[in-house]
């Protein structure tokens, strides 16, 4: 388990996302309207679409390629499609707004 500082919340737009590369894994960070920041592997289980490019609705993201919907909390694909993406633990320092990612 490695914990790392990956940026600040104000670098991500609300209902927006940023991506980053850790080793060979591309990770997408999303900032929800609720203020939460969530992280998932940036790869739709369907055809590998970059989830970071998708539209964020509530706590779901719509894959930009074929509109599969992924729940960002659980990483589960929503019905009628099925599948799962890896989620990562995110912590935010309430004072500084620093985002820490553990993987």
């Amino acid at each position: 388990m490695t914990k790392m500082l990956v940026g600040n919340v104000n670098e991500i737009d609300i209902k927006g996302s940023r991506k980053l590369l850790v080793g060979n894994t591309e990770i997408a960070l999303f900032r929800l309207t609720t203020g939460e920041v969530l992280a998932v592997e940036n790869k739709c289980p369907h055809k590998g679409g970059a989830l970071s490019e998708g539209m964020v609705c509530g706590s779901r993201v719509h894959c930009p390629l074929h509109d599969w919907r992924v729940d960002l909390h659980s990483g589960n694909v929503l019905a009628p499609d099925t599948g799962h993406v890896t989620t990562y633990e995110v912590e935010i320092d309430p004072e500084s707004g620093h985002i820490y990612l553990t993987l």
Binding site: K3, G48, A79, Y100
Partner: protein
């Protein structure tokens, strides 16, 4: 800078007042320093949704309209939990119970209303409450954990919603009502009786024609005594008999009141600098308790405060919808028959559907719907618009045409093999659909779609899916009215009408007011609402880039491997050696894997990494070709009279002129134009959305063509003589399309749907044409090149780069 701003103070932090402030911030963001006092300890929430909180469909967080961050980012000073106790209208200062004073230049009283509590002996006992705010809701939830019997006094809208919520919490609920039938102010007797039956089936009991006399019990309520001597036991009594405007503060401060705070058509009270809006205000003798009129009032007030010219508020015709699970009730306007009016009724006791239309002088003046309220918004807009409905009565009453029921598709479908594919997009077989219906419990097209994905993409197989539903589910099949997406039951026209009527100005507000089932919508409705709002309010609306599809957010086409493509604009397909060199150099510098000519005479640089996009745009220094958007794409041209020996007109010049006129225009779907210099039509103008073909001495104008999925040749719109006329008609046509087509509807589908004649008719009158042209020009004046904007603004540019390099801690 703050010294230049006038001070605006608002008393009350409810829906109507804050709505007015939101509107004001858009019209005049710099004009005021705003302070809001709210007595409740919460930010602004959607009171209409309290019944959903109570019924378990929503949490408190779900119903917050503006969170604290919103107040903060708009520079509004908010005092929650502060009650304003007095106003000095001479010194222009307000005072609160916590010792704060605030001076104002303009003051808005948005104090809302209080629940009306019957003055019964014993009304002060523990367990007697109203249904008005979050606190009441919490008390009900707490009580349900330890007590069983609840009485709701009041069989109106609010009472029934409270009763339904209490049922949901597991209490035994009886509704006490003084009238002989419930919701008598919104429903006629027939609909009311159907509603009561439905609610009784859900477990609600009714005590009708009962006058309450006293509340029994020692410290806590035990029961309710009626005038006829009967007694009903109760551990909780909810009074939901009505509301009264909260005028106390106004009264004490010498502001004129009657039932509510008296305002004129501009929401001004009789005291200079003091306005009132919402449930506390009384306009032309009426104090409204519904959100739509209050939003209309808020819009007028905001314009007044912003110094924008506005027509005054003229009162509202209201409509009601009961928000109770499993029951659909709608009523609008004058729903009882009066002398001079007549009523048409449709009543189906088996399906539990009732519909009544009240008509006066061939105009719809009122409607009641029970069981199927899908047509409510449409009927309501007809009532509001005073539309003549002569000849349409039967269709309005029966809804869908009856021939839809008698289609012969059954036989063919039944004979089809199980492995035959019904939905070609998603590969769903007849067998899979049959199984979803028979063992999966799907009884509607929507359910089948959600379960199997059949008809979820292009929708072309929907009639077949409907047919299968008839075969396998038979009488169990339910027709659910489908809206623009799964988040709403409203269709495009209904949504646009409501946005106009209530002057809704943001995506969030539309979803909130029109009862969206997903609080942030989906990838289908968000872009469409963003488009409709931008089309309706070009000057005020701030485009929500987060509600646009990927391509339009990153201004390039996303490809299957996550790379993008760059297409510079090449007006009319004409370029120069210098531009070609520049494009070639940039392509080489950034290692673009493929350079290709597009179908519309442009150069496509494919396979570009997202991070490289802004740098490439910067180096190219050319305008965006919008090859990615729902907007004007290309204007294809042939060489025309410039070089061609057959050319009769300057097709290149005309093409460039059209492309420059309409570039960057937002449209419901992509739009392609072409100009051919002679009837040989080398630019293939008759398969474009708007095609221009030169003839000797003039131009033929064609519309509604498409070379895509379903090839469609254009229809001839008209023939004109001059270049200016081409532009005039093109402008009018495009704007008419923008204003009337559905989101994602190409002109080809739209022309087929509404008919060529209706479009010709709309554009035929020159005055109308010029008005449309003026509106499109007003919109076009506000556009800018997105590539340039991203190159210049680091805040936008950051989204193209990965977030900072991770550091292990």
């Amino acid at each position: 800078m703050s010294t230049l701003r006038k001070k605006l103070v608002m008393v009350g932090n409810g829906m109507a007042g804050v709505r007015a402030i939101e509107h004001l911030l858009k019209l005049a963001p710099e004009a005021y320093e705003i302070t809001i006092f709210g007595a409740e300890p919460h930010p602004n929430y959607n009171r209409i949704m309290l019944s959903s909180v109570l019924a378990g469909g929503a949490s408190m967080n779900d119903i917050i309209i503006n969170d604290l961050e919103w107040y903060h980012s708009n520079g509004i000073r908010l005092y929650t939990g502060h009650t304003v106790t007095s106003i000095d209208t001479r010194q222009k200062t307000v005072y609160t119970d916590k010792g704060i004073e605030a001076s104002y230049d303009e003051l808005i009283l948005a104090t809302g209303s209080n629940p009306f509590m019957l003055p019964l002996p014993g009304a002060e006992k523990e367990g007697v409450i109203a249904f008005r705010d979050i606190k009441d809701t919490q008390i009900m939830q707490e009580t349900a954990k330890t007590h069983r019997k609840a009485l709701v006094i009041g069989g109106g809208l609010l009472g029934l919603e409270a009763a339904r919520g209490l049922l949901h919490l597991g209490m035994e609920v009886s509704v006490v009502h003084i009238h002989e039938y419930i919701m008598e102010r919104q429903l006629d007797e027939a609909a009311s009786v159907m509603l009561r039956k439905e609610l009784e089936e859900q477990g609600m009991k009714f005590l009708l024609k009962k006058q309450s006399e006293a509340i029994l019990g020692k410290k806590r309520v035990k029961g309710l005594l009626f005038a006829d001597g009967e007694i009903a036991e109760a551990d909780l009594i909810v009074m939901a008999v009505g509301i009264k405007p909260n005028v106390e503060l106004a009264r004490k401060s010498g502001i004129e009141i009657n039932r509510g705070i008296i305002v004129n058509d501009y929401m001004e009270t009789n005291t200079p600098g003091v306005y009132s809006v919402g449930e506390c205000a009384e306009h032309r003798g009426i104090a409204y308790g519904l959100v739509a009129p209050l939003y209309e009032q808020g819009a007028v007030l905001a314009k007044r405060l912003a110094g924008v010219q506005t027509e005054g508020y003229a009162g509202s015709i209201t409509s009601t919808k009961l928000k109770v699970s499993g029951v659909d009730v709608f009523s609008a306007g004058q729903f009882t028959e009066q002398p001079g009016s007549r009523a048409l009724r449709y009543q189906d006791e088996i399906e539990g559907v009732y519909k009544k239309l009240v008509i006066k002088d061939d105009k719809l003046v009122g409607a009641v719907l029970f069981g199927d309220t899908g047509d409510g918004a449409q009927l309501f807009s007809m009532i509001k618009n005073n539309e003549n409905i002569k000849g349409m009565e039967k269709e309005l009453l029966l809804g869908v045409s009856s021939d839809a029921l008698a289609s012969p598709k059954g036989n063919r479908l039944e004979a089809m093999a199980d492995d035959e594919i019904i939905c070609g997009c998603n590969g769903v077989s007849k067998g899979a659909i049959a199984e979803a219906i028979q063992s999966g419990g799907c009884t509607s097209v929507g359910a089948i779609k959600a379960c199997t994905k059949a008809s979820a993409s292009c929708g072309g197989c929907k009639p077949l899916v409907e047919g299968l539903l008839q075969i396998y589910a038979g009488d169990n099949a339910v027709t659910v009215k489908e809206g623009i997406c799964g988040c709403t039951t409203l269709g495009r026209d209904e949504i646009v009408a409501e946005i106009k009527r209530m002057e809704l100005k943001t995506v969030k507000e539309v979803m909130n007011v029109l009862d969206w089932s997903n609080d942030e919508g989906c990838a289908k409705c968000r872009p469409s609402l963003n488009y409709y709002l931008g089309m309706l309010w070009p000057e005020e609306y701030i485009d929500e880039k987060e509600s646009r599809f990927t391509n339009e957010r990153y201004h390039a086409n996303i490809q299957k491997d996550g790379t993008y493509s760059v297409v510079p604009r090449i007006y009319g397909g004409v370029t120069t050696p210098a531009d070609l060199i520049k494009i070639a150099e940039v392509a080489a510098k950034f290692d673009v894997p493929m350079v290709k000519f597009t179908g519309g005479q442009r150069l496509d640089l494919l396979g570009v990494k997202k991070e490289d996009l802004p740098k490439m745009w910067e180096e190219l220094d050319m305008p965006s070709g919008h090859a990615y958007g729902k907007t004007l794409r290309t204007v294809k041209t042939c060489v025309g009279s410039t070089f061609c020996r057959f050319g009769t007109q300057d097709a290149i010049g005309m093409g460039i002129r059209l492309e420059k006129a309409f570039e960057r225009l937002n449209t419901p779907a992509k739009v392609k134009l072409a100009v051919s210099g002679c009837p040989r039509n080398c630019a293939e103008a008759t398969i474009k959305d708007f095609g221009v073909v030169a003839i000797d001495g003039g131009w033929e104008l064609h519309i509604g063509g498409n070379g895509g999925v379903h090839v469609r040749a254009t229809d001839l719109l008209c023939v004109v003589k001059t270049d200016d006329e081409v532009l005039e008609w093109a402008s009018a046509f495009l704007q008419y399309y923008r204003e009337n087509a559905g989101w994602n509807e190409r002109t080809a589908q739209w022309v087929e749907r509404v008919g060529l004649d209706s479009i010709k008719q709309a554009l035929d009158d020159r005055e109308e044409r010029l008005a449309l042209k003026e509106r499109i020009e007003a919109t076009l004046r506000l556009t800018s090149d997105p590539w340039k904007q991203i190159v210049n603004e680091p805040e936008l540019r950051k989204n193209f780069e990965p977030i900072s390099q991770p550091e292990t801690v």
